[in-house]
């Protein structure tokens, strides 16, 4: 079955059926109207009417802070790894965020060092995406090959057809998931498939296409923006790191030892941000990237430089638009790439 349909009412029992193999996460409405990923509780209603979750699901796979190992006895240590986490099933991923997970998986797995603390979680997860019906005000996935519909990068892709959902099966893992509750699914009819196709075309046309991405990438890659210009722009950067933390693909981290009593510790990995002044500061106090402008330039080179795109098979923005919402200085990817593009005209 490459394409199936499921009624909306059958989705909760389907997620229940996944519960014995996976820890299931789904979108949940919280105070203020935000939607976040949370543990799915049996019997809960499914949230379908949302643009995107407040945060990408990155922290489920690459936690903001996690223990790499326990250290007992600091000078005569015994090291113990934490227990492995259960595989996740995640329902309601947006296309951009699924693309971001694929990016993280490739990054953490590449160049001979497969960092399984992240990659095994992504690979073992059941990724169930929900294709987008309408762009949010900050969305630009169409410019970044991040959506609104996906051709790959999901196990199951759900498309809302009103009372029911069309399901694209992307992987054997997705097919196996359907087999957990086969009675809930039916073969998609030619009519269903046609409805989805027309919907996808209509949705695609509602997204605004922005022409600055390619031009911005070129300017960033070739170093066309003078350091003085970066410095002026960076005066609006608060150095809060918010753009990095809400980004589905940002992955920089630091590692520290946290004391647990007098003679024990935990080695912890936690998110870090290249916009922090201390990000490159060495023990001697020497800091090769001391100016704010250099740090902003660094961020954009890393996200949008062709040199990195070549390493990663794509640039580092999936167009989710979260940095647009979080940056109080107008230094998000979309706005600043427009300025870069205009600067080089």
């Amino acid at each position: 079955m490459e394409q199936a349909v499921i009624s909306k009412a059958d989705v909760p029992p389907f997620l229940d059926a996944l519960g014995n193999e996976y820890t299931v996460f789904a979108p949940r409405k919280v105070g203020g109207g935000d939607v976040v990923f949370d543990r799915w509780q049996a019997g809960e209603d499914i949230v379908f009417d949302f643009v995107n979750t407040l945060l990408p699901p990155k922290s489920l796979f690459f936690p903001t802070r996690e223990t790499l190992f326990h250290i007992d006895g600091l000078r005569r240590p015994t090291l113990t790894a934490p227990p492995e986490s259960e595989p996740l099933a995640i329902f309601g991923l947006r296309s951009c965020d699924a693309t971001g997970l694929g990016f993280l998986n490739r990054f953490f797995g590449q160049r001979g060092f497969d960092d399984k603390t992240v990659t095994s979680r992504v690979r073992d997860a059941l990724k169930m995406t929900l294709a987008c019906h309408a762009p949010g005000p900050d969305c630009f996935c169409v410019c970044c090959e991040g959506g609104p519909f996906l051709a790959s990068g999901f196990d199951l892709q759900f498309t809302d057809l009103g009372d029911r959902l069309l399901v694209d099966v992307g992987t054997p893992r997705g097919a196996a998931a359907i087999e957990k509750a086969p009675a809930r699914f039916a073969e998609a009819t030619a009519g269903d498939r046609d409805t989805k196709k027309r919907l996808a075309a209509r949705v695609d046309a509602t997204f605004q296409r922005r022409s600055y991405i390619a031009g911005g990438m070129k300017a960033v890659s070739l170093g066309k923006i003078a350091d003085e210009v970066w410095q002026v722009w960076a005066e609006d950067c608060q150095g809060c790191g918010g753009c990095c933390f809400v980004c589905p693909t940002c992955s920089c981290f630091t590692v520290t030892d946290a004391w647990r009593g007098d003679d024990a510790a935990e080695r912890e990995r936690s998110w870090d941000a290249c916009l922090y002044a201390g990000f490159t500061r060495e023990a001697s106090g020497h800091n090769p990237r001391v100016a704010r402008g250099e740090r902003l330039k660094r961020r954009f080179f890393h996200k949008m430089g062709c040199q990195y795109a070549e390493l990663m098979g794509r640039h580092g923005c999936v167009g989710c638009g979260r940095c647009v919402g979080v940056c109080m200085g107008g230094l998000d990817i979309s706005t600043l790439l427009t300025r870069i593009h205009d600067e080089c005209k």
Partner: protein
Amino acid sequence: MSASSLYQPHLCQIVRIEDETPDTRTFFLAADNVAWRKDYRPGQFVELSAFGAGEAPFCLAQSPTRAAFIEVTVRRVGWVTNQLHAYEPGDVVGLRGPFGNCFPFERAKGKNLIFVGGGIGLPPLRSLINYVLDRRGDYGDVHVLYGARTPADRVYKKELAEWAHSDQLTLLETVDRGDGGWTGPVGVVTELLKGMKVDASSTIAFTCGPPIMLKFVVRELVNLGLPNKNIVTTLERYMKCGIGKCGHCCVGHQYVCMDGPVYNFEQIRFLPEHA
């Protein structure tokens, strides 16, 4: 193998500690259980853990041809190095590695070699100097130029004394400020380069030291006629993982931990910022 095994270090006991200078010590780590102790390449580095303080990158300071121990020379500067300096023989540190590329010791075969070190910049060069001494027939003339702030700040004093009397290499030393016992030259290390007669086309220079020293050394080597690609250094950056994941050491699109830390100046010219 647990998922976090890339980050979980190998445990190594400190066998011996030698004072080099008032703030620098060499740690000799038991290597019996270190599978790669004879297989690393000069110029590579390790991540060393002082548990409870953290982990930091250090160059391997000895040649793999002399790997009875894993040798790491550490200046006391920050959290990790302060704790390391509080350690005694018998204490246990964590070791991950070896990481990074290496000095181009194959390309250097048959060439004359000049090593220019400043202060704590000698340890990474020493891994190659001793390697060359153990493969002496493969290389031409070897000059080692070493500058320190004061005579007390010279690392590997015993080895320097041996090199001074060796017919295998020529050692030239200088200090910024002498003391009562110092009879050698006083001045910056670049002064030692100025008098040298160099066959520029068949010479490779390896240099490591503080950024300001590097700037002047490179200028002098270029004056001597060395092409940029025959001037080799090793970069130092803040690093957390050593395996191209944490993002701290990136310069341009280079991960210094994976693509470096050894670069020649033809490559460094194209980096957007200098270390």
